[in-house]
Amino acid sequence: MPTAAHKKSKSSPRRRSEPELIFGDLWEFDPAPESADPKLQARYRLFIGGKFVAPKSGKYFPSFNPATAKPIAEIAMASPADVDAAYQAAAKAAPAWANLPGAERGKYLYRIARLLQDRAREFAVAETLDGGKPIKESRDFDVPVAAAHFFYHAGWADKLAYAFPGATPQPHGVVGQVIPWNFPLLMLAWKIAPAIATGNTVVLKPAETTSITALKFAEIVQEAGVPPGVINIVTGAGVTGAAVVNHPTAAKVAFTGSTDVGKLIMRSTAGTGKKLTLELGGKAANIVFEDAPLDQAVEGIVNGIFFNQGHVCCAGSRLLVQESIAEAVLKRLRNRVEVLRVGNPMDKNTDIGAINSKEQLDKIAGLVKAGQAEGAEMFQPKCKLPREGWFFKPTLFSGVEQSHRIVREEIFGPVLSILTFRTVSEAVEKANNTAYGLSAGVWTEKGSRILKMSTELKAGVIWANTYNKFDPTSPFGGYKESGFGREGGKQGLADYVKLT
């Protein structure tokens, strides 16, 4: 039970001491592990033409549990020849799929949505096992929202004429899709649902470190009786991804991942006529004004940066807080971070799970070192990290400057940089001072200011008095070097059709 303690604040004598919530320090939580069976196979093959097939090279690579750093399954390494086979299957399936009445296409998506709901817990456990995210997130967010994306797009399949008045929507044909490791199943849903609802067929490559739920999804594709070749899944690393992007059959390429790779893809598809959508990195400003409800804002800041270990392209990684309340916010933030539970992702009480890979852990550690070297003040809670696996403490940097690497570069980890501002225009100026433009947060009780900020901020998604909210009906995507195209809503649908 939370207890309240009154402490005198020495640093701001004019401010009355505030009651402070203390939780979790009276006794240790018992472990609460999720025990549902993820029903993993020892070895996963490629999913091409409705069948699981061995890679032509015969090569497999291990997929690790980030919480233990131990391998949990073998994944097929698709060569360019395998990718070609997937494109052939997709091309073969394309005309019949495109000509199917929309209502009938939609029924397949409804089936997929329902089957995902039926196997939700199994998928959530597999996602956490393979990716390291807390089970409460995979259970309450990733899997249900993935199912919701299929449900939403199922309904569009026979209503496309309403979405594009004055034009005739046609599918592109075969779409090549490459997705990241931070939300493996959800990103798959964001990619596949609108593509097949509009009559395209797909070749999708999941990220190298998180292939398992995509291949479990392939089982659902079979259970749903989706015609062979409509959905093909090829696994592998960069070479496989390049083969997916560069295959001449791809009429459209959709990519979610880093801005660096996004730039490579744009160069490699240049001149081919392929349609392109890119959902890339971000360095979102989460802006807190002095009239904001501070407790809610602190929760929003924590959610904004520590959700999914900060492996979120729209993470609120730059906190901009109005100078007059900076000290109060920082104090509350430190108290809050001190009680975050970091550790076993499969524990239902865990707030921050494992870092997805050793490579990413090293990258985060490197940037945090740079932050310290550049003179920022670092705060980390006293929590103990598990001895095995890949973990990183939630980290706050104050006293940072706009030129610091930790303010400019996407860290993709649980690291928050805190800046201050005095006026609305200064907040706008600082928030927009980045090459990225994916999202931003605004905290204020003043409605007109929310709308003013929303007008001025150069970002594709603005969250006001909330953060990290997602819905299939709501378009998501970026300005500037955060890429182009939208996923979700009518606007997301538009990226999967040719309008004639």
């Binding site: 209502a103 939609g106 029924k107 409804y110 919701a148 449900f151 939403y152 199922a154 309904g155 569009w156 399949a157 026979d158 209503k159 309403y162 979405a163 609305v424 225009s425 409605g447 007109s448 200011r449 709308l451 003013k452 900020m453 007008t455 299939p472 009906t473 809503g489 009518k490």
Partner: protein
Amino acid sequence: MPRLPISKTPKCYVGGKFIRSESARTFPLNDATGEFFAHMPQCTRKDVRNAVEVAAKAGGGWAGRSAYNRGQILYRLAEMLEPRTAELVNALTLGGATVAEAKKEVAATIDRIVHYAGWTDKFEQILGNVNPVALPHFNFTVTESMGVIGVVAPDEAPLLGLLTCILPAVTAGNSVVVITSETAPYPAIALGEMLATSDLPGGVVNLLSGFRKEMVPTFATHEHIRGIGGVVNAADRKALEIGGAESMKRVKVFNTADAIDWYAGEGPKASLYAIADFLEYKTTWHPVGA
């Protein structure tokens, strides 16, 4: 010795319960060969008023659910009908349809439910909008359900026509009180039993069997009925419009005299606009500025 089957007492589905008419009146229903089949509840104006009351109570909860949830519930209704196709086919053949015709009607009905299930979280994205007003204001228009809608179901296509009239109003977030087909009331009885096993909250759809001449006048004048849909003859239409003038009812009905193709695409009217028939528009102004 052949076993004697149990014959069913048809009851109306109102407020999530199965009722007889409060009047205790019934009328006999014969099958297609002219043999006696069952006694149908002959609902009254008092039954209409009772149904409006439960519909009004259920309406807020239904409209307040997320659009996604409403879509899933309507889809669940389709899931409840599909495996019960044989029962619905029997209900339709009772009124004279051939088995082939009945199968076609049931399939089209299920597909129509799925079609509307897909609208719940989309119609707002097309019917609502942001308005670029010339003042420093953010101005947007959203839709809102009306409340209780009265539906007069057509006689022909007693299952497909019935649901084609109900679904747009329910998709929009309204609850409905329905006078079912006079000549073929039994499919609505079977439908009620399937509605009861779907996740649709009781009171959102209320199905009354009986005679239009007894219930339409109450539809016309009941102040809590905000709109009227369905199919009516010219005299009933005029009566509904005259009666509805007092409370400014939205009367959006088809004429019995017009040949309606219930199988056409999305029904006799493009589905989005059928939904819009039972929605209000609400516009909000808010200043923009630091």
